[in-house]
Symmetry: C2
């Protein structure tokens, strides 16, 4: 144990394999259902929108999947990311706890999303995909995929929720600088978009509509275009395992092992990225690291949702999966952590939560920004509102240690920077930030709003 601040690995330490938690999972996977037939999907259904390499990864039970060399080469631009000991924050909290954070904001596009974007772009490239379609809300995923598509020489169409397109022009400009085409969704380019505009020409759009447009654009392209998703699915979480694999080595450099690993959850990918490699040792070596998923009170799919079969998107075009959900028709309040505004949760993470293998906490927006400002002032780095959910709980746990005197080791994932979120900080600092609780009415009706399926839930 040292008083070192940053724990750095060399590029030889970039993981050579993704870790697939499904190989160690004690919970059998539930089938994925076709949204039309509500029967288990056929390969045809998926291959209309995903390349075969991705589909195989999605259902793989192999424990370790080799990272292709061109992807590792691209990772070298920012990986391994630093593990940082929050010495100044510890001091400010006057806690005996040791707080470490893995900082994914050093990625050129600003968040962990780059980890899967590069992998997905590569697998598409070698499968002959000429262009990719995707949706983006807050813009972190769209930025990451824009960079990745440029790196591997493919076109990208981004369907960006219209209200974000208008209110967050910087994220759009970043995607365009990387060379992507960005459209304000709903557009007139797709049947789904036109149908919405016919009903409401001034529709502000939604993530659900944008997904529908991106999926349709790929599915109707005769195979030239494929669709890519930035969270939820197994292959996305798989690619994020590089975060935890590196963190394991870096905690070893620090001479410590975490008592708890904390990450924010929207679809679940950054939490899974840091937590699953530690879950492996809980499952296989009897370790007892607490794995804590932090969700916003405004969209508490784990702590308040129902575990059942539901559509992945609002427009009911995406597959039906078994997950913790608030109902596909639930639209979360407009919290500033746009990346956490999702009605569902990754199926694997839902299953582990259901099995008691991971914990979950829901926190409110103002408490999150209070933690974010304290962190910025102590550590210098301005965190993304999403990542600040993890900071909030890390601070709370460190304060508990102050009371008990326990020297616990806390590790959290700082999944991205907040350089494009400063208007939210300004709102908080000027006392204008609202807190949203999850509406109790909506909770009572979740089960009724789920699709009827013949598979036993």
């Amino acid at each position: 144990m040292s008083n070192q601040t940053r724990f750095l690995l060399s590029e030889n330490d970039i993981p050579r394999f993704y870790y697939n938690v499904l190989a160690d999972s004690p919970v059998p996977p539930a089938p994925v259902l076709n949204p039309i037939t509500r029967e288990p999907v056929t390969p045809d259904f998926l291959s209309a929108i995903f390349p075969m390499e991705i589909i195989l990864q999605e259902v793989s039970q192999e424990r370790y999947i080799e990272i292709p060399e061109p992807v590792r080469e691209a990772y070298k631009l920012y990986r391994p990311t630093p593990l940082i000991r929050a010495l100044r924050l510890e001091k400010a909290l006057d806690t005996p706890a040791h707080i470490y954070y893995k900082y994914e904001g050093v990625s050129p596009s600003g968040s962990h999303k780059t980890n899967t974007a590069l992998a997905q772009a590569f697998y598409n490239k070698i499968s002959g995909t000429r262009a990719i379609t995707t949706e983006t809300g807050a813009g972190q995923w769209g930025s990451a995929l824009s960079m990745a598509c440029r790196f591997f020489g493919m076109d990208l169409e981004v369907y960006m929720v219209k209200v974000s397109y208008e209110q967050k022009p910087y994220r759009r400009f970043l995607m365009e600088t990387y060379g992507a085409q960005v459209f304000a969704s709903p557009t007139t380019r797709t049947q789904a978009g036109r149908a919405i505009l016919e009903k409401d020409p001034n529709s502000p759009g939604s993530l659900g509509i944008a997904i529908s447009e991106a999926v349709e654009a790929a599915a109707t392209s005769g195979g030239a275009k494929k669709y890519a998703l930035g969270s939820v699915l197994n292959h996305v979480l798989l690619h994020q395992s590089v975060i935890g694999e590196e963190a394991l080595k870096q905690m070893d450099m620090a001479g410590e092992y975490p008592d708890m690993v904390i990450g924010c959850v929207g679809g679940g990918s950054n939490f899974a990225g840091i937590a699953y490699p530690f879950l492996r040792y809980n499952l296989t070596e009897g370790r007892n690291t607490r794995l804590i998923a932090v969700e916003p009170k405004a969209a508490p799919s784990l702590t308040r949702g129902v575990y059942g079969f539901d559509y992945g998107d609002t427009a009911r075009m995406a597959p039906i999966v078994k997950m913790h959900t608030l109902g596909h028709d639930f639209i979360p309040p407009a919290i500033h952590a746009g990346g956490l505004r999702y009605h569902g949760m990754a199926p694997s993470l839902s299953a582990f939560y259901d099995a008691g293998l991971i914990e979950a906490v829901a926190v409110g927006q103002r408490a999150v920004f209070e933690a974010a400002v304290l962190f910025t002032q102590q550590e210098g780095i301005l965190p993304a509102p999403e990542s600040s959910h993890a900071i909030r709980v890390a601070i709370d746990e460190a304060l508990k240690c102050k009371e008990t005197g326990e020297k616990k080791v806390i590790l959290f994932n700082l999944s991205g920077h907040g350089h494009f979120d400063l208007s939210a900080y300004n709102k908080y600092l000027s006392g204008q930030l609202e807190d949203y609780d999850f509406p109790e009415d909506a909770i009572a009706t979740i089960a009724q709003r789920l699709p009827q399926v013949s598979i036993p839930a």
Copy 2:
């Protein structure tokens, strides 16, 4: 020589000493003059606005000045910064040259300015300063000093040029998140500000006015407040030498030594930071590394200015120094590289340029953004418009190597990221970015516009 992408040092490699080029300078320093008397300044004049430690550094002839341990501790949050080989850019240019860049944008506030901000905040703190005043234009310096003052527990008043205050709210919000007080200059808080507002209540402000306000606020505080400057002066350039000292070690790791070192210049601090440690070996060991300062065509103080005595600020409250200048009353066109819009140049850098020890090139705004977009698409990192001046010349030199077949080694300083400059990128991509050349009329009159001094120029 390897195909490694990033060259990383451990925190033990953070330099222990700043390198003071004045110890090796073959050019005698010119005196600094009081702006009122136009005679050499007395210690009294400087001590009204700077703490004694800073004044001593400003005139020191010691070759190496120890970096205080608390400053090194704070550097550990982001230093050593990476040296990155631009392998993808080299390939895109099809050049035999090897291109390396030192990336200072990993600093929490986003640029190299943090290096001197932490040092200045520390020296002020141990001198009993309770609050610091400063000005900021584009906001990189203000952000860096805001973080540094928070770290060392001091208040900060930032006089931000009103037009930037209104047009660049994100930079302001960042400073406020760090805990600084930010005022739109001209303010009614100072005599200088009130005088301007009396004449023009709608004054958009200028860097010159903001400097005057910040200096006045410190000078009239009875010693409680001191003033801090982010470039130009010897002590600022001194603190930036950590960039070049690290780069020397990292080039050694890469098994190469640069044929040329390139940096952008406004006041000169980031260029000096990377170049002076290499200049040392040109001067003392017969090395012949070309040192190329890149300035905007809109403010070409080195390539088109006059070398003579001039005021440091527009309002004639700052000391008179001998430097390359376009005249203190010259207001550069509104290029997006706000950090390079300065009429003068650091005295040491001006002297070295005059003595033929460094070279200078002026480049236009559109050519700079063309280079910036190419860099972003190849390397992923979105550069600041200021830093992109260096990228432009690095690319030009690499393209010359393509013609000649020479395998030259190019090193440039990527002094900051462009996350707060995306509207400029958008203007460039949509064909709306203007090019400014330096007005020839203004050049002809520079000499007449300089103050009359009795010291021989």
